[in-house]
């Protein structure tokens, strides 16, 4: 499998050349175009546990993900994948470290990567926005997508990131949610909302723009729905 990222950073699109009998998992809806003989199957991936009602609850909370599996079959095949918003794509190689990914930051992964939905640690913070977290483990390639450019920070010690700017981080990092300033009033009125304080050692991937801030800016200027 050969992955090329074209038109970085703002219009990034991934071109993947697959050998015969190869497989690729992607967020449903990410497919732009592909060879005609490619075999596709889309399923709903839910968070684990909870039975039918648990699954339903999670679905409504947005904690479910439609995933498409693409199989090349007998012949080589090509496929183009793109995220929804303007921004960059970053290939990340998973081996020993698990990666926590913000749900809209996941674009695709190779078969050796296991995806687990509903990483709970950050959930309460994002109530109201349908953001949840995935944990990717195993070994293989994950394609991350961002709103705007992606930059990497090698955290060693402590580091603070606005929650709206996180794309993914290695699970070797521990974190706590806190306010940016010293007062809680300022945290909400001042616009600098909640931040994530990371601790330890590991790689952190951030996006240059905050989709929520952008959405609120445009949305507030539109007529009511």
């Amino acid at each position: 499998m050969k992955v090329d990222i074209l038109h970085q950073p703002e219009s990034a699109i991934a071109k993947i050349d697959m050998a015969p009998q190869e497989e690729l998992t992607a967020e449903a809806g990410a497919m732009v175009s592909m060879s005609g003989h490619m075999n596709v199957n889309t399923t709903l991936r839910k968070g684990k546990g909870g039975g039918v009602f648990g699954g339903l609850k999670r679905m409504l909370a947005g904690e479910s993900l439609f995933l498409s599996v693409f199989r090349s079959g007998e012949q080589p095949a090509e496929i183009y994948l793109a995220p929804k918003l303007m921004g960059d794509i970053l290939p990340y190689q998973i081996d020993q470290h698990e990666l926590v990914i913000q749900s809209t930051g996941y674009l695709a992964s190779t078969p050796g990567v296991d995806l687990d939905l509903g990483f709970q640690g950050l959930k309460s913070v994002f109530s109201g926005e349908s953001i949840f977290w995935l944990t990717a483990s195993g070994s293989g390639l994950v394609l991350l997508s961002a709103f705007g450019g992606i930059y990497e920070i090698k955290v060693d010690g402590e580091y603070i990131v606005d929650t709206g700017h996180i794309v993914a981080f290695e699970k070797t990092l521990s974190f706590s949610i806190t306010k940016a300033g010293s007062s809680w009033v300022g945290a909400f009125l001042g616009g600098e909302g909640l931040v994530c304080r990371f601790q330890g050692q590991g790689r952190l991937f951030c996006q240059t723009h905050n989709p929520g801030a952008f959405g609120r800016l445009i949305g507030s200027k539109l007529p009511p729905r």
């Binding site: 074209l6 038109h7 703002e10 219009s11 990034a12 699109i13 071109k15 449903a28 809806g29 497919m31 732009v32 175009s33 592909m34 060879s35 005609g36 003989h37 490619m38 075999n39 596709v40 199957n41 889309t42 399923t43 709903l44 679905m59 439609f66 498409s68 183009y80 793109a82 929804k84 918003l85 303007m86 989709p211 959405g215 609120r216 445009i218 949305g219 507030s220 539109l222 007529p223 009511p224 729905r225």
Partner: protein, 255 residues
């Protein structure tokens, strides 16, 4: 009337006729800048040269260039397009008397490509993809007969033929794919394709979320399946998913 004047008029007439029969010799000098995210098109018009431009896309021009609003293909055809949900209003720009520069920006940020018609080739272009064209190019809208219920997507195509230059645009970057055989594209990502390709719109079961009976996400899985040989241009983003992203941020109507 003196004979020599009559002859001169005749000569002039012949010249005009000639320029209409053989317009492909006058390929327009152009430049596309700021690709692929913010592409803008600059045309260097020769004296008295006319181009058709998507209505509202003129960004800047020399002061002697004259503009005339026009509906391509006459009023009734334009009306038909409007009823079909798409209108193709174009403006005519003419550099009167001397050469002039015209700067064109599509309404949506993205990329621009050029295509040259020589009378024997045709191009199908996604309906909002028209940017500019020589007046000798013929544009005809063609409804492809389906509309997605959830996303508002529809596949209206313009059939472009004739002689001369044509420029089309996208949302996001444009990628050219040389199709040979069987190729599938999500309908929302089609920018243009040569009419040597056969195509049919179908629902690809494996891509559809609807089959999963969830309803709330509304993924159609509509694709265009191409066969044959020809060039295809796709875009790296779609406008409707972007609009759908903004939608939940709109204020809620207070009753």
């Amino acid at each position: 009337m003196p004979v020599h004047l009559k002859q001169a008029r005749c000569l002039l007439h012949n010249l005009n006729t000639h320029s209409q029969i053989n317009p492909m010799t006058t390929e327009t000098a152009y430049e596309i800048q700021h690709s692929p995210a913010y592409a803008a098109l600059t045309l260097q018009l020769q004296a008295n040269q006319t181009v058709l431009v998507e209505s509202g896309a003129m960004a800047a021009m020399d002061s002697h260039i004259k503009m005339k609003s026009k509906v391509q293909g006459g009023l009734m055809k334009g009306l038909g397009r409007m009823l079909g949900g798409e209108s193709l209003f174009v403006s005519e720009f003419t550099a009167e008397g001397r050469p002039g520069e015209l700067l064109i920006s599509p309404g949506v940020p993205g990329d621009i490509r050029h295509y040259h018609f020589e009378g024997n080739n045709g191009l199908m272009v996604q309906s909002s993809g028209f940017v500019a064209a020589s007046p000798t190019v013929t544009i005809d809208s063609k409804f492809q007969g389906f509309k997605g219920f959830f996303s508002g997507e529809s596949l209206f195509l313009l059939k472009v033929t004739g002689y001369g230059d044509f420029w089309f645009s996208s949302f996001g970057a444009i990628i050219e794919i040389p199709v040979a055989g069987d190729y599938v594209v999500d309908t929302g990502y089609i920018v243009a394709f040569e009419d040597t390709l056969n195509y049919k719109v179908e629902m690809l079961g494996g891509l559809s979320f609807k089959g999963l009976r969830t309803g709330i996400f509304g993924g159609e899985g509509f694709v265009c399946r191409f066969s044959g040989t020809g060039r295809l241009w796709i875009q790296s983003r779609q406008l409707y998913p972007f609009v759908n992203f903004i939608h939940p941020f709109r204020p809620v109507k207070s009753s």
